[in-house]
């Protein structure tokens, strides 16, 4: 991307806002600040923007595609010369104080230069495949590619492991425009900026840590985010929700608070999982009109206006709602089907019910817990979420706590104002 980069030492630079993270929160903060008229540098560690939202099949409660809102936001980015997007970029170090930060960035090699036209010839010629992170490893992808339909920028990237191989060198000749550069190296740069918005989002909680639920050990126990990819027609199974043996699905269970609201795992509530599972019952219903669906829950948390969505889902007579946190999942070896075991809190009845597929509604782990802000003086809560401080480094979205899309957009719009206030202060 031939984007103007504000490498700054002049006046203009001191007003520049750095946004870290190109998911819905970061994207929103960047466009909202830029549309006020501020220069913004948006850095994203992946080769493309979109974050978790790009992986979702549909949004609750409208059951519409997230790509629609993403496209509008990409339009806003494309049309706004004030936004500089740096992909594959990570923040190494932040020094200074509100109004005057020096930030060291590292841009990891894409191994495909700016000449790339996304024509796809390299991918066609490439035999090597790697795990598809976008699809949570449910499939393999070519070692060079553009990620997915809504990848922005639409420019290919090569897996760093593959770039080291002789096969990668062979692709150099394949590319009609000379865009393949397996020897590309990381670049470091330094920016001067006035304020920083930290929007590094979340990672689905590692379900295998919830040992009693046997994820990874018991066949056909999956997670909510994997269901999003499976249900997506451009996903690994072409939109089909599938068992590992391809057998028909007649009976699906969703287990809420899989890892959340639990001192052994994530003590907080991840906020979105109730609504996400309700939404996913519609995926199941669409594909398997006669399927039985069970939701095991502690409390149903369809906050404020989402209540209407809960009512809509409750109208599906094929859904059984069981107030219970299942004790464990056993495997029925013969049928390769999981058996959910526990006690119904409302009836006191113990159950051991076999399902064709069990979906663990896993929660949100803040990315910031593993990669904190590389600056001194930051405050984090007990779970590693960033305190929404009033200094020039402002957290937003799931970097500060579990959020849904609407809440992330709300918080990120607010974060844009805080960043602008910092710039105003710096201006005096």
């Amino acid at each position: 991307m031939a984007r103007r980069c504000v490498m700054a030492d002049g006046q203009a630079a001191s007003q520049t806002i750095l946004v870290v993270g190109g998911g819905m929160s970061g994207l929103t903060a960047a466009v909202e600040a830029a549309e006020v008229g501020r220069d913004v540098i948006l850095v994203e560690k992946r080769p493309y923007l979109g974050g978790r939202v790009a992986q979702l099949n549909k949004y609750f409660p409208k059951l519409c595609t997230p790509a629609c809102g993403l496209e509008i936001n990409y339009q806003r980015v494309r049309n706004n010369p004030r936004i500089t997007v740096l992909t594959l970029t990570e923040v190494q170090e932040i020094q200074g104080s509100e109004g005057d930060y020096t930030v060291r960035l590292r841009e990891n090699p894409r191994f495909v230069n700016e000449k790339c036209t996304a024509c796809g010839e390299c991918a066609k010629a490439c035999d090597a495949e790697v795990d598809d992170e976008f699809n949570f490893g449910l499939s393999k992808v070519k070692a060079v590619g553009n990620g997915h339909n809504m990848a922005y920028p639409n420019r290919y990237a090569m897996s760093p492991e593959f770039a080291k191989t002789p096969e990668a060198e062979k692709l150099v000749a394949v590319c009609p425009v000379g865009a393949i550069e397996p020897k590309m190296e990381a670049k470091e740069s330094t920016l001067h900026i006035s304020s920083i918005i930290w929007a590094t989002g979340w990672t689905p909680y590692d379900a295998s840590k919830i040992r009693p639920y046997g994820y990874g050990r018991i066949p056909n126990v999956t997670t909510n985010m994997r269901i999003e990819r499976m249900a997506n027609k451009f996903g690994p199974s072409g939109g089909k929700i599938v068992r590992d043996d391809g057998k028909e699905i007649k009976n699906v269970a969703f287990i809420q608070c899989a890892g959340s609201r639990d001192h052994n795992y994530l003590p907080f509530c991840s906020r979105i999982c109730c609504l996400a599972s309700m939404k996913q019952t519609t995926y199941v219903r669409e594909q398997f009109p006669d399927a039985k669906i069970t939701i095991y829950y502690i409390d149903l948390r369809a906050m404020d206006r989402y209540e209407a969505f809960q009512k809509k889902i409750e109208a599906d007579q094929g859904i059984r709602w069981i107030k219970s946190k299942p004790a464990r999942i056993d495997a029925d070896l013969e049928s390769r089907s999981p058996i959910v075991i526990g006690e119904d809190t409302l009836t006191g009845v113990r159950y051991a019910d076999k399902y064709d597929l069990v979906v663990l509604a896993t929660g949100m782990e803040p990315n910031i817990a593993a990669s904190p802000v590389p600056a001194s003086g930051m405050t984090y809560d007990a779970y590693g979420f960033l305190a929404n401080a009033t200094t020039g480094i402002v957290g937003t979205g799931c970097a500060t706590g579990p959020q849904d899309v609407s809440g992330s957009v709300q918080a990120s719009t607010a974060a844009a104002l805080k960043a602008i206030q910092s710039a105003a202060k710096a201006r005096g």
Binding site: R3, R4, V31, E32, E35, V36, G37, Y59, P61, K62, C64, T65, A67, C68, G69, E71, I72, Q75, R76, N80, P81, K115, T117, A118, C119, N149, P176, F234, R261, P267, F268, C269, R271, D299, L300, R301, A302, M303, D304, R305, E307, A308, T345, L346, T347, T379, D381, A382, F385, N388, G401, P402, V409, Q410, T413, A414, A416, L417, Q421, A424
Partner: protein, 739 residues
């Protein structure tokens, strides 16, 4: 400045192999009479861009026709500091979206015809395009009006003022602070932060002081907005302060009028009225604030307190939504009791579902640890005790039986209703309000479509509450806090900051003459050729944003700064008097007619596709990128919104000899996806009337169809188009084909 067009055809990415570029070039130069046409093997390369830039200096080129790849890529590459640019999507539509030209000769012919038509469209567009003059007015103001001086309003006012903007804050009460100032404590915003797990001071006093003394905030207390006249940047707001009127020039508005408590008198089934000791959470808060948690009946200490959740909320007979804060408010209030009466306190929360999202789960845990008892169940009966207090019967769902408890106070956690007037989402007007009714509205807008903001549901004024939560259907007016959506103080503070940002963004955009979301930055806006107007009022009624008023004679009075530039007015106008500098009925009509339709005997039908540029067009584009084969007979013209589609285009298409017309746009109705709220819905309504026109032309109405698609219908599109082409062809010969 004279327009000088340069057309640049890229021959890379397979364009040269698939298409005869020489003929394409001739189409532009000879047929379309644009003499400056150049080819380049890779137009997006520095050399390609350099070639164009050289022409800017040497040839004075100031209008650009880039025939290369999709307009969704390389926007920054082909940025020449002017909106006078048009992209012709040869690569995605005529190359990648077509069969391999090397192996399929017929396909090559079809692709060539497609490429030529796309270029014709582009040429006509740039020829008809004028440089939009941004709207300017010396009277534009950047002052932000905040209505409501509660927690949200004060936060918004301070937020905008701290960013360097002048703020006018109007509060109806004699003092600032709203409900939060009357609260005892607040629930912690994030109880998982070190040292922040307990009840928090409201901070209202400090916030009031900061607002009162802020040099950029002009305060009207004991005041209300009497009338709002005009448009963003140019609002003249009459403020009535204790009977005396002042007019302020305002740029944009944040409405932060908060919430009302649900009327407890409607909650007799939960015991309200049965005893003075059945009270609302609000009344309880006041007691706690005074430090006297006592029975109302006899003033004795109230040590045993039960809290009933969802009192009026989540109830189809009352408020259907969840009021979002009641669970944590009751926990907070139970902690007041424990704080006052220590070991003697006995508190119980009777609930349906405990809703403590995110880190608030720690606050729930704290309440449990401090001894608050939680009972999942329904209140079955409430009766006054002869000795004071009340007896409550609860059907306990966990213990599976009825339970009777005697408490000193039964506190109903009543829900919240938005304290703002709205118009029904399905009715475009509340014009018929009496002056008295108008005076009661929060803003009393002088909009032809009504004095209030339109609501989406349940009286909450918004339009896209997932993706773009601040967008109302009135440009430059944003709603924050519980007037927008049920929320507590912490969330309201964030919300207010966000709304203040949007308000700032609106005044800054308007000062540049630019549109706000979703066509942010667009400098064009419609002009009205008034002498042609027949006062039919379609434009004034249909504008999704109420941008157009009417004078006494019914003439449209357009307000550029209210406009979102969707073109719905242009689509509505039967007289074709509404145009943008770079988008008009005439321009699109000419493009439609510019297609070279083959004679019937060639058996090559032509289908016009008018595609919403936000969703349908990207879907078509992605189909091309994915090398799905797009029917070669379709001719795509992107439109700003289906709302901008004027029916005359259908007639234009038919008289030109197209076999059919397909409108591709967003889902409408409930859960609409139209970025302009009503555009695709209006297109559907208009289309229902097109049959008449078609029958006059002796054409089957099946030749015109509106199909709802979303941006991810990439896989479905090619089949959809093929089917339509087949169906239309089956209708027989289109009689208006050229010979």
């Amino acid at each position: 400045m004279e327009k000088k067009i340069g057309c640049y055809i890229c021959t890379g990415c397979g364009i040269n192999e698939a298409l005869n570029v020489k003929t394409l070039t001739a189409t532009v130069a000879k047929e379309q009479k644009i003499p400056l046409v150049k080819n380049h093997a890779m137009l997006c390369s520095p050399e390609g861009v350099e070639m164009i830039r050289n022409d800017m200096t040497s040839e004075g080129v100031n209008t650009f026709l880039i025939a290369a790849c999709s307009p969704r890529v390389h926007v920054e590459t082909f940025r020449f500091g002017t909106p006078m640019i048009e992209r012709v999507n040869l690569r995605e539509f005529a190359v990648w979206g077509q069969p391999d030209a090397a192996t399929d000769k017929d396909a090559k012919e079809d692709a060539q015809a497609l490429g030529e038509d796309l270029l014709r469209f582009g040429c006509i567009r740039v020829k008809k395009m004028n440089n939009p003059e941004p709207f300017e007015d010396p009277g534009l103001s950047k002052t932000i009006l905040v209505v409501g001086g509660g927690y949200s309003g004060m936060t918004a006012a301070k937020g905008a003022a701290d960013a360097g903007y002048d703020v006018v804050l109007v509060e109806k009460a004699v003092e600032l602070g709203g409900k939060v100032a009357k609260m005892h404590r607040l629930t912690p915003a994030n109880p998982s932060l070190p040292g922040k797990d307990g009840l928090q001071e409201t901070g209202a006093k400090a916030l009031c002081l900061a607002v009162e003394t802020h040099p950029r905030i002009k305060l009207y207390k004991n005041a209300r907005v009497k009338q709002t006249v005009g448009a963003p940047g140019l609002f003249d707001v009459t403020i009535d302060q204790a009977g005396s009127d002042t007019v302020e020039r305002i740029g944009s508005i944040v409405v932060a009028t908060g919430y009302n408590l649900y009327d407890p008198n409607k909650l007799g089934h939960l015991g309200y009225g049965a005893s003075p000791d059945v009270i609302t959470a609000w009344d309880f808060e006041q007691m706690a604030r005074e430090g006297r948690i006592v029975r109302k009946s006899d003033g004795l200490p109230a040590k045993r307190v039960a809290f009933v959740q969802c009192a009026g909320s989540r109830d189809k007979n009352h408020l259907e939504y969840c009021s979002s804060t009641c669970c944590t408010v009751s926990m907070k209030q139970a902690l007041y009791v424990i704080d006052q009466y220590k070991n003697e306190a006995s508190t119980c929360v009777i609930y349906q579902e405990i809703r403590t999202p995110g880190q608030l789960e720690d606050f729930y845990r704290k309440a449990q640890n401090e001894g608050v008892v939680f009972v999942k169940g329904d209140v079955k009966q409430v009766a006054a005790n002869s000795g004071g207090g009340v007896k409550v019967q609860v059907a306990d769902k966990l213990l599976r039986g009825d339970e009777s408890m005697e408490v000193d106070l039964l506190v109903l956690a009543t829900g919240m209703t938005p304290n703002i007037d709205t118009t029904d989402p399905n009715v475009s007007s509340n014009l018929n309000l009496s002056d008295e009714e108008r005076a009661k509205t929060v803003l009393n807008l002088d909009y032809r479509q009504g004095a209030s903001l339109p609501s989406l549901k349940w009286g909450f004024p918004d339009s896209h509450y997932i993706c773009f939560p601040y967008e109302t259907r009135r440009t430059g007016i944003y709603v924050a806090g519980p007037a927008r959506r049920p929320m507590g103080a912490a969330s309201s503070a964030t919300d207010a900051m966000g709304a203040a940002l949007k308000a700032i963004q609106a005044v800054e955009s308007i000062s540049r003459g630019a549109a706000v979301h979703p066509r942010a930055g667009d400098l064009s806006y419609p002009s009205f050729r008034k002498e042609g107007c027949t006062q039919c009022k379609r434009c004034t009624e249909e504008c999704p944003f109420g941008a157009i008023n009417e004078d006494d004679k019914g003439n449209p009075q357009f307000n550029p700064t209210r406009c979102r530039r969707c073109g719905t007015c242009m689509g509505a106008c039967p007289q074709k008097i509404i145009s943008f500098a770079n988008y008009s009925v005439d321009m699109i009509g000419a493009m439609i007619k510019g297609c070279e339709v083959p004679p019937a005997e060639d058996e090559k039908p032509r289908i016009l596709v008018l595609a919403c540029e936000n969703d349908a067009y990207p879907a078509l584009d992605m189909a091309g990128i994915n090398r799905q084969k797009l029917n070669p007979y379709i001719r795509v013209i992107p439109v700003r919104c289906l709302g901008s589609v004027n029916l005359v285009w259908i007639a234009d298409a038919m008289s030109t000899g197209y076999d059919g017309v397909m409108l591709l746009g967003c889902r409408h109705g409930d859960d609409y996806q139209c970025h302009f709220v009503r555009g695709s819905a209006l297109a559907e309504i208009r289309l229902s009337k097109v049959a008449e026109t078609l029958s006059r032309l002796q054409l089957d109405s099946a030749r015109v169809r509106l199909t709802e698609i979303n941006i991810m219908d990439v896989d479905r599109l090619p089949g959809l188009l093929d089917d339509f082409v087949k169906e239309v062809t089956a209708l027989g010969e289109q009689p208006y084909k050229p010979f």
